[in-house]
Every structure is written in C-alpha cells, then in structure tokens.
Symmetry: C3
Subunit: 161 residues, 3 copies
C-alpha cells in the first residue's frame, strides 16, 4: 500500500473516533447548561431546525429548546437543586447522520438527599453540520412501563456481528 | 524515523483509542438491550463461552446470558419501568484481553419517582475476538457493604505512575 | 501537502483524542478507589500540590486527598455500601491545562435500596505532567440550590460555535 493510501486510511479511522467523542461532548454539555439555566448553550447544541420531543408537544427550533430553562417547572427544579445526568450513550454514525441511545436521569434535592424524579430512555438523532455535530431530534420517554420508551432503546441497538 | 515506522506508531495509537471506545460501546449497549428485553442483543455482547456472575449461580454461555431478559423478576422490572445504567468505566487493555471496572445501577419506577433498586460494583473481563471485543466474564456484586464488591473495584485500578 | 506535514497533522488529532480519553480514565478511577478505600490510588490521581475543594476547608496535596478514605464519615459509608459515580464529563483542553465539568453522585445502601446521598456539580481543573494528566484542583458543590454549584456548571460550558 502506498503512503497516501495509508494516510487516508488512518485519517478515516481518526475521523470515526473524533465523531464518537464529539457526540459524547455534545451530550455532556446538556446537563451543565440546563442545570445552570444557561439557555444559549442549550440552544447551541441543537440544529437551527432541531426539535426536542419529550412526550408533550415537541419544542421546535434551537431557540425554543433553549428557552426550556425559563419555564416554571424547570425554574423551580433549579432553585431547589437538580442534576440532569446523561449516561454514556451507544453511538451509531452513518455518514453525516448519527444516533446516540441511552438514559437521562433528573435528581432533585429533598433537603438531606436527592430523589430520582425522572429516568428516561433517549434517542438523540444527530446531524453533522459545518460547525460540528448538532441535535436534529431528541426523543425522551419516561421509563415508567410505557412501550414507547422501550422502543427507543431497542431501535438504537443491534446484535453485534 | 522513516515514514513506515511513523505510520506504524500512529496506527498503534489509533488502535489503543479504538479499543477503549469499542469497549465503551459494548457496555453502553447492555442497558438498552435488557431494558427493552432484546435478548439477542444482550447475548451478542458476550463471547460464546462467556459468563455473567452476579453472586448466585453464574449464567454460562452467551445465549443463557441473553435469556435473563425472560426471567420473572426482570419481566416485572421492565413492565414497571426500569433503567440499567452502566457508568463510564475505567478500561485497562492488555493485548487481546481487557478489564473494564465501574458501576451499574438499576432504577425502578415507583409511580412519581424512581427507586435505586441496585447499585453494583462491576468487573467486565473482555476478550478480543475476530468480530470485536466481547464479554468473557462479567462479575457484579451489590455495594451493600460486602467485601467482594470492594475487591472488584480495588482489583481494577492501580496507582498512576 | 508533504508526507511529514500530513503525519504531523494526524498526530495532533490523535493527541487530542488521547487527552480526552486519558481524562475520562482519570475520572473513572476516582470512584473505584474511594469506594474500596484504596487511598494510594486516589492520591495518585492528584498532582503533588493538587487540592480538593468540596466546600469546607480544602484538602491540600495529593497525600491529604488520598487520606480522605480514612476519615469517619467515609469509613461508615463504605462499611454500609456506597458508590461514588462520576458522570461522563464535558472536557475542554487548552495545551497542558484542561477542565472537566460534570456530576458526581453518592449512592448509599439502605438495606433493600440505595439512597442518593449526594449529587454534586464538579469542576476538575487538570494539568498535564510528565506522567500524564493529574488533578490540580477539584471543586465540588452540592446541587442543593446554592448558586456556587450552578456557577461551576455554567463556567465549564460555552455555546457551540
């Protein structure tokens, strides 16, 4: 194999690793942004036309998603003390599209301990933009026995070959 | 240093990164597979002769491990709503063997909140197969004060040099 | 572009990936070390002159940080069964300095379940030493509504450009 080909092959492998780690970084930014009510950071994780579908009417557009930090239940959560923690996801990249599958939990302060207020199944549909990976659609369903939550999880993983 | 040597050195570093991320991916697949009762995916994470040792009689063989999604307590957990979340592990690779050390938690729905039903110490002994990294043995012990759980954790980490 | 330049560019990208993964490994070692009371491992994560600031008088120096596994509340936690779990952090590297921003939780056994005893915002200020990345300062504040905790989170993340 000539040097140019070898370089190209290594570069492709590096790109694959960079994609996975960039998606980790994106998801790891979500919690710190919402728990500190830094809505412009939350918004910047989404594509301009991205959406967040959490079961009720979806939030449409990056700015609208960012504004979730200024709604009543969220303001109260943050005032009491909360942690939105995203698990290390399974990431599947296909060209300029990717899907990250995993869990979110919201821990809410109750004085001397924290209550697990929410545990959700998450499917993050991502798109590669000229500025990097962004959320095209986040679908989040509570793991309260509903089949929709299980579907998000099973959809995201396949048997290893 | 000649170009071939430089390429080989870079390739070795890339392989090290790929190993760590592939092991993350393997562990991140576990929860979504069991919480959606997709047992063939669970099974596919294990080597054919792999085992899962959780304190009682170990499950022996990939297929048997996958069938854990069809046993009574698990069926009820999933029906109520549960999340098996694996923490970002410490990964130690030695050739075609690796060990990942970290935590698992099971969150179980209780109506308006989730209870932390289990918190375990985990040692994942992994093997590189021709198809990629697989679980050779997962050892899981509840962090309920038993020394075995602490041993799994201390075994997996060493002082940084 | 000549081969030397191409190799140098790939090497820089690999180094960026190695930094992020090495910092993950450092943080993933913390929990297993403290929950098994392996204080020398805990100490080895910190730079010699590193500190751990958790709200009270900070622990100063790697050895002092490691000795936290031998103080009363911690001994009791471990005897009862506890899990110190660090979330997948957002990592920002700037030359030989880095900051990792994320969450810590302490799960404490209560017989048949675990209580979330602590949920904290964390800022890990890291330094590259000749032996690898080490903790220069860890700042940890409980997410109980105090503004200091929120500041640690907002400080660590910026809008994606």
């Amino acid at each position: 194999m000539d040097t140019e080909t070898q370089l190209a092959l290594l570069e492709a492998r590096i790109k694959g690793l960079e994609d996975q780690l960039a998606i980790y970084q994106l998801l790891a930014t979500y919690g710190p942004s919402v728990d500190s009510r830094t809505g412009d950071v939350t918004a910047s994780l989404w594509a301009q036309d991205g959406r967040y579908d959490f079961g009720a009417a979806p939030l449409e557009g990056a700015e609208t998603v960012g504004s979730l930090v200024n709604i009543e239940p969220h303001i109260n959560y943050v005032a009491d003390g909360c942690a939105h923690v995203i698990s290390m996801p399974y990431v599947s990249v296909d060209g300029d599209r990717a899907v990250a599958t995993g869990y979110s939990r919201v821990y809410l302060n109750q004085g001397d301990h924290w209550r697990v207020e929410r545990a959700g199944a998450n499917r993050w549909e991502l798109v590669r933009t000229t500025e990097g990976w962004r959320v095209h659609n986040r679908i989040n369903r509570l793991l309260n026995g509903q089949s929709e939550a299980r579907s998000l999880l099973s959809q995201g993983v396949k048997p290893k070959e």
